[in-house]
Each structure stands twice: as structure tokens, then as C-alpha cells.
Symmetry: C2
Subunit: 512 residues, 2 copies
């Protein structure tokens, strides 16, 4: 018997243990999904405790010494296998997870979790009272704890380990120059667009009944390829996607009757995430490989479907007649061109989540830079609101009315940590454009197919090139494999220039 075949029982043992850990995680996710969808309010207290217990057990199991032992014993087996075999990938990814998890003392994690809970409460209060001073001491503690968390890892930049948690392989030395480049290109584009006559998007702010919006959205996402045999859609105050297995991936949505864009585009966004999760190879089911590769790759799938497809002219050539048929009174006076321009209106606005795809990354990069400055000790928490407002003035030409509309608008720093919280959003936009460019280059029929309501070409290509692999490849590996190039801002900038020169009837194409 060779060493290799002796190793297989250990591989199976490892895999079984990992599946059980994923089962605990999946249960925690379902408890969370239920809490935001159907749980009666009386369940709140116990539910928080139940989720915490499941996560604690999962963490315990994930850091048991037996996992480390099995990983050691499996080194030779791993080396004997192709890099991208399921077995080698599972061992490799598990080793990364394990080595990361055991570096952080459980007492520290408990302390941090507790702090996150009280900080979140303080943020809710501070935001409603528009008073940053309420949350300031908590944020100072969060900064301290975020730095301490980073200190358990070796790093070149203190933000690197925190970024690595959700965007593995990305570092400040990669991201800072990339983002600086992007900002320099974006500012003049935004300048040119906002100097042009503004688009009238009032057609989107008529009354659209909730029921009809949901029905239309349902038809759209079914057509796109969301599999309702292996998923469902429910309503929640904040839309999200959760996966409990490859066969059970759920999205949520919210509907505003006085704003057509909100429900549909956030639904398509979540479907982008969901197609990724539904498309993971079945052989990865239940293992840590059955997840998205990184925050940036995941966001690339949602933004690709939401913006590049969902806000494209071709998409609406296909769906607009149907939409007009449903909302006859509201939309019969509106041509498809007018509608297309309305859903792509660019405006300098204070809120990230409301931002159009041109200005969106400017919002994100402000946060990224401020995170770095705080972690580097160059920016005090007490000076954060002022720094925030200055950057908004400089990058977006606007000044938030108050701190709730400014520095306190996003929950991330207040409910999680400082560091690694935002880069994924901009990475998502960049990767989406680069990936879509590669898809169309490989199969130029894709854009025409979309006009005809055929999304299978694109969906299948994404599934084969990205979705099926789950976490086998890191973001950088995947981008290379799929597009043949390292991550770059060019596809995104080209996409924006082409699309918005046209939409804003700019005589000279946008040059950046």
C-alpha cells in the first residue's frame, strides 16, 4: 500500500469533520434568515443566543487540534494531487482557514463579539439622534480591537490581515495604487457627466404597486436563471442572499411603491450572488469549498447582473414592453430610451447604497482610505467625521447634512470592525467589468442573446468559469484564469466611458 492510499481515510475523516462544521454554520445562517423573515418578535432574545452557540461550537470544532493533525498527515497526499483537484483544494483551503483561526485566541474573539454587539446598539441610537459622540468611544475601542486582531498575524501593512479575511490575497500594496488610479480616472468622468444636462428620472418615482413589482421581478429573475426549485425569495427590510446548501439558496427583497428602481435592481443584485451559490459544483457540497472565492468575486457577480446586464440597453429592449404592459398608466408615455436613461442617471449623492455605478466607487474608496488612516494611527476617531466630510467635498463635491448621512451611514465599522470592510465593493465592480469583457470576447453572441431575453449563454459561461469552482481558486488566481490578465481598472473605465458618453450624449467621448 502506498502512502497515498493510506492517506485517503484521513482525507475522508477531515472532509466529514468539515461537513459537520459547515452544517453548524448553515444552521446558524438559517436561524439568521428566519429571524429577519418569519420569526415573531418574542423570539429575539433566545435567537441571538442560539446563533452565538452554533457559531461558538463551529469555531471550537474548526480549531480542534485534530484538524491540524489531519492537515499535517495529509501533506504528502495533497502534493500527489493536481493543484485544482477537489481533494488538494479542500486540504489547501482548510489549511489556510485553520492556520488563520488558531492564531486568534477564543477569549479575544468572545471579547470582540461582545463589543460588536454593544457598539451596534450604540450606533443605532447615535444614528437616530444624529450624534456621533454617542458612538465615538465604542468606535475607538473597535479601532483598538481591530488593530489587536491584525496583530495576531504577520503583515506588511496592518490592514492586510483584515483585508485578507474576506478578500484573500489582496493587500494594501495591491489595492492602494489601483484605487488611486481609479479615483484619478473617475473624477473627470463624474465632472463631465454632471456638467451635462441632468437626466429626468421622475418616471421611476410614480406609484408602482408592490404586488405587480414582485410579480415582474419574479418573472425577470426566473428568466435570468434563478432556480426556484433550489431557492426562494422573501421580503426583508434589507435585502440579502443566504445559502444553506447548493440546493437551497435564498434571496430577499424589499419593495418601495414610490420608487421603481429599488426592488428590481436590488433583487437582480441578490440574484447575481445567488446564481454564484447555486452554480457551485455539487461535488463540493457541504465542504468549505462550497462558497464564493472572496468578497470581491462575490460582489462581481452581483454587480455584473445588476449593472452590466440589468441596467443595459439590451436588457430593457427585452423586458420593457412587458413592464409597460404591467404599468400601463405610468410607463406608456415613457420610451425605452427615456427609461434606460432614467435608470442610469448619475448624480453626486451622499449615500453609498443609493449611488449610481459611476460615483459608487468614489464612496467606497473614501471609506477604504479612512480605514487605512485610522489603522495606521494617522487619523484619530475623534477627527473621523471631519475627515469624512472633507473627502466627500473633495471627491464628490458634496457635504453631508449631518453625521447620520455622513460618517454613520454604513453599519460596517460600528457592527464589525475597522479594516477590510469596503474594498470588496470596488473590487466587485472592477472584476465584473473585466470578467464580462472576457465573456463577450469568448462569445460575442452574449450581448445579442440578452436583447432576446436569452441569459443562458452568459450564465453558463459564468458557471463554467467561476461559479462551479467555489473557493478552489483565490480571487487573483480566478481573475487570471478567466481573463488571462491580472486585475486592472481598464475594463471598468472603458465600460463606464462607452456607456455614459452615450447616455449623456457627450459630444466628445469621455476621456479619462
Amino acid at each position: 500500500m502506498s502512502i497515498i492510499s493510506l492517506c485517503e481515510p484521513k482525507y475522508l475523516e477531515l472532509k466529514n469533520r468539515l461537513i459537520q462544521i459547515q452544517d453548524l454554520e448553515a444552521a446558524a445562517s438559517l436561524l439568521n434568515w428566519d429571524q429577519t423573515t418569519y420569526m415573531p418578535t418574542g423570539g429575539t432574545y433566545a435567537r441571538g443566543r442560539q446563533i452565538a452557540t452554533l457559531k461558538e461550537f463551529a469555531h471550537q470544532k474548526r480549531t480542534e487540534p485534530i484538524i491540524g493533525k489531519l492537515l499535517e498527515d495529509l501533506r504528502a497526499y495533497e502534493k500527489s494531487l493536481p493543484y485544482d483537484s477537489t481533494e488538494a483544494s479542500l486540504i489547501r483551503v482548510t489549511r489556510r482557514d485553520y492556520e488563520r483561526a488558531v492564531r486568534v485566541p477564543p477569549e479575544f474573539m468572545a471579547k470582540f463579539s461582545q463589543h460588536q454587539a454593544v457598539s451596534y446598539e450604540a450606533w443605532v441610537k447615535a444614528k437616530s439622534l444624529e450624534d456621533f459622540s454617542i458612538v465615538e468611544p465604542y468606535l475607538e475601542k473597535t479601532l483598538e480591537l481591530s488593530r489587536e486582531l491584525a496583530s495576531f498575524f504577520p503583515y506588511k501593512h496592518i490592514a492586510d490581515p483584515l483585508i485578507d479575511f474576506i478578500d484573500e490575497g489582496m493587500t494594501v500594496s495591491i489595492l492602494r495604487p489601483l484605487f488611486n488610479q481609479l479615483r484619478q480616472k473617475l473624477r473627470p468622468i463624474v465632472e463631465a457627466i454632471t456638467s451635462a444636462p441632468p437626466i429626468d428620472d421622475s418616471c421611476l418615482y410614480q406609484h408602482f404597486s408592490k404586488e405587480e413589482q414582485l410579480k415582474f421581478g419574479y418573472a425577470v429573475i426566473q428568466r435570468i436563471g434563478f432556480d426556484f426549485q433550489r431557492g426562494r425569495q422573501d421580503e426583508t427590510p434589507h435585502p440579502f442572499t443566504s445559502s444553506f446548501s447548493i440546493g437551497d439558496v435564498r434571496i430577499t427583497t424589499r419593495v418601495y411603491e414610490d420608487n421603481f428602481s429599488e426592488a428590481l435592481f436590488s433583487t437582480i443584485h441578490e440574484v447575481g450572488h445567488a446564481l454564484y451559490e447555486q452554480g457551485i459544483g455539487l461535488e463540493l457540497e457541504g465542504t468549505p469549498l462550497a462558497e464564493g472565492s472572496s468578497s470581491g468575486i462575490h460582489e462581481s457577480q452581483s454587480r455584473l447582473w445588476e449593472n452590466i446586464v440589468g441596467r443595459s440597453r439590451g436588457f430593457w429592449e427585452c423586458f420593457y414592453p412587458q413592464l409597460q404592459g404591467i404599468f400601463l398608466k405610468q410607463l406608456s408615455p415613457v420610451s425605452v430610451s427615456e427609461f434606460y436613461r432614467a435608470i442610469n442617471k448619475v448624480a453626486r449623492s451622499p449615500i453609498r447604497t443609493d449611488a449610481d455605478e459611476v460615483t459608487y466607487n468614489l464612496h467606497v474608496m473614501i471609506r477604504f482610505d479612512l480605514e487605512l488612516a485610522m489603522l495606521e494611527g494617522k487619523l484619530d476617531v475623534s477627527d473621523l467625521p471631519e475627515a469624512w466630510n472633507e473627502r466627500y467635498k473633495k471627491d464628490l463635491g458634496i457635504f453631508p447634512a449631518n453625521d447620520s448621512e455622513g460618517v454613520m451611514q454604513d453599519v460596517h465599522w460600528y457592527g464589525e470592525m475597522i479594516g477590510g470592510m469596503f474594498q470588496g465593493y470596488t473590487l466587485g465592480n472592477l472584476i465584473a467589468a473585466q470578467v464580462y469583457q472576457a465573456a463577450v470576447k469568448y462569445n460575442p453572441e452574449i450581448t445579442v442573446a440578452i436583447e432576446r431575453g436569452n441569459f443562458t449563454l452568459l450564465h453558463t459561461w459564468l458557471k463554467q468559469n467561476i461559479h462551479q469552482h467555489g473557493r478552489k481558486y483565490t480571487a487573483n488566481e480566478l481573475i487570471h484564469r478567466v481573463t488571462g490578465k491580472p486585475l486592472s481598472i481598464e475594463p471598468f473605465i472603458n465600460y463606464i466611458q462607452d456607456k455614459y458618453s452615450n447616455i449623456y450624449h457627450l459630444k466628445v467621448p469621455l476621456s479619462a
Copy 2:
């Protein structure tokens, strides 16, 4: 420092461990609830595995030696406390659970679980093909495993440990004479009733729209006292109640548009279970005490509300005008008396779950006796269908059309085990009558209050006397405390005699 105060940290440790185990159980219950309500079919495979994992971890944690050690260390502390203090009760109940759990080897439980899953599959097939021979070998194995399970415990009768699992403290020596007595009293009552002119209940089998049925049911259960802030109702093929915490207790229902009784009475039944779970004292939250005392006590609450209250004349004096208002066409020709008689029609029928409250216990006791005979080795599995049919002929005067309508009608033996599966249903009916008698004796206003739609008097009394205690008392202790007497068949027989003499206009009151 006294021994007692030194023990308290150990008590807290025990309690915290128990709460975490309950958290795993609650998560497993939610995964199960979700599977029957909202889960897309694609989730089936992974969901089964996830539930199994949670249950396995819960079992592991429950049988860890540290639990035994803490229980030992807490003996003096327990003795220093009043018997029914929360602390003493938690230690006592946990000790019983622990001693029971550690007797059964985990490998045996795994083997039994696996067998239960395949046996269940075979039963589904056998039932649809009306072919007992398909499931017979599985049932033989189930009998063998049920006997083996019992053998891990000391017993007087081999069924005792199996009965004790869900009806703690009940034994064959208590139940057999009680049930024989009950059967002897019931047979002539059924004889007298079924000799009287049959009731026309065709008014219940008109078309009743699902939406209106649900609306009416919702109004009824809210009035009864189901707290929708701490619970909800959903639709499933088979109604059930599940509790994820005292603040989150959910019921399910099913609606037949051509049968009015089905949805409403099964809903009230589940609400009876749910009021119990919602009424448990908050100081027990998350612990093993936050459950019903036993299967029989739990069933007593559901049957009390379903039958003694929900099928009472007073109840319909209150609700019938409202029901007539909703189903004007169907019910305006039907008087409240006619309706009351219709919902209480007694008939010899082959299916337990369709049986009226007079014949119901005869169904249950047939199963109880057959279980005992098989466990005692006096009845072979191959002879079971014949024995079943003979007993149906003898006790109910009917002969099942086939084995699917006969011996294969209930899932219990095929999906769980042989032994302890059925006594709880009849215990429930007996306890319900005895408890209700005590309630009315304590507060004679209760029946008048019900006529006026005031259920608070009864609900409050049940909460104070039964619900709040959770598992602090065994069924026998609770019956004694609440009614001042041991369990007896008299209150049930009196209730049946009074009610049905009247309904069937029997000149001579039913004597039994």
C-alpha cells in the same frame, strides 16, 4: 464559605452547558420546521444531514462525562433546596436525562436511526401499494432493535423503559389495568350511541373557502389566547407545533375546502400544545425544564382545547354567529344545535386520526396492546395485520378495507419504534377531563365565561397550575398537585356520558 455557595458556580456551569445543548436542539427544530414550511425541494438532501449533525452534537454534549461530574458535585446543593425550586428541579431532571442517555451506546443509536430512515421509506412505499409484506422485514428489525433498546435499562415489563421515554413514570402495571377499565366502559357507550339514529353532519362537507377558514381560525385562536407576538401559524401537510424558545412557539395547519372540521379543530388542537409552551415560566427559558412534562400531559392540553372547549356547546354559542356571518350561504340554514351535533358525530371508523372523541381511545388502546404483545414475544410481526384486523372487529365492529387503512395507517412503528408510541394519546384524553373537572371545580365561572368568549379564566388557571412548571413535575406528580387525586378514568367517562347522552338524545343516560 458553605458547601452550598461553593456549589453555585457548578450549578451555573451546568445550566450554561444545558442551555447550549438546548440551543442545538432548538436549531434542529427550526431546520425541521423550515423543511416542512418554506424550504425549496432542492434543500432536502443537505437538510437531513444538517439536522442529523445538530442532533449528534447535542447528544455528544448531553452525555459528556463533565455533565455526570457536575451532577455528582451538585448532590448536596440539590438536597439543600426545596424539591420544586428551579435549581433542584433542573438538577433532578438533568440527572434523569443524563442517566438515561448514557445507558444507550452511541453506536446503537446511530444504527437505530439509520434503520428508522430506511424503514420509513419502506413504509411510504408499502402504504401506497397497500402491501404489508414490503415493510414486514423492516418492522421485524424494528421490533428487535426496540427490544434491544429496552434491554439497556432495568425494567419490570420490557415496554416500561420505552414508555418512560415520553411518559415518564408511567408503566405497564399502571396503564394496562387503567386501559382495560376504560375499554370496558367505552364499548357499551359506543354501542348505545351507534344504535341511536345517526347524526347528519353533511353541513360540514360543503365548500368552505380556504381564505375564509384561515381568517376565522386566526380570530378564534387569537381569542383563545395564542400569542402572535410569540408565535405564528403556517401551512403544512401535517399540522404540528414546534417551540424554539418560550417566546417563539409556532403551529401549523392544513385546510380542506370540502371539510370544515379539519382545519379548525386541528388548529385548536395545536394551539392547546402551543399555549402550554408559551406559558412555561420565563425563568426556565433555554433549559431542559422549558418543555412539557410528558407526552400525556402535552396531549391533555391539546385535547382539552380541541374537544372539551372547542367542541362544547358554549364555545359555539359564542362563535357560531360569527361563523354563520362568514359562511352565510352554507350555514344560515343550520342552527347552532345542528352544527354542535354535527361536529360531535360519533361513528365507528377505521382511521385513528379521523376518530371522534368517544371511539378515539379504542383505536389507541388496540395499538398499545399490540405493542405489548409484540414486545412480550406473544405476537409475531407476520401475524400483526391479522391481529390488528381482529381487534378492530372486536373493539370497533369494523374491518379495515386493506392494510394501508389498517395496520399501516400510522407512521409511528415504521418511523420510530415499537413500544411507548401510543399511550400518550389516551393519557391525554383522560388527563384533560380530570384537569378540566378540577379547573371548573376551582372556578365554576369557567364554563359561563367560555360561552361569553372569555377564555382567560381557563387559560390563566392552566398556566398557573400546569404550563408555568414546564418539566418540574412528572405527569403523576402534576396530576396529583392539580386535581388532588391520582389519574383515573372517571372524569373522562363522566364527561363522555353527560355530553353524548345529551347529543344523542338518549332517553336513559348512558351508563357505563
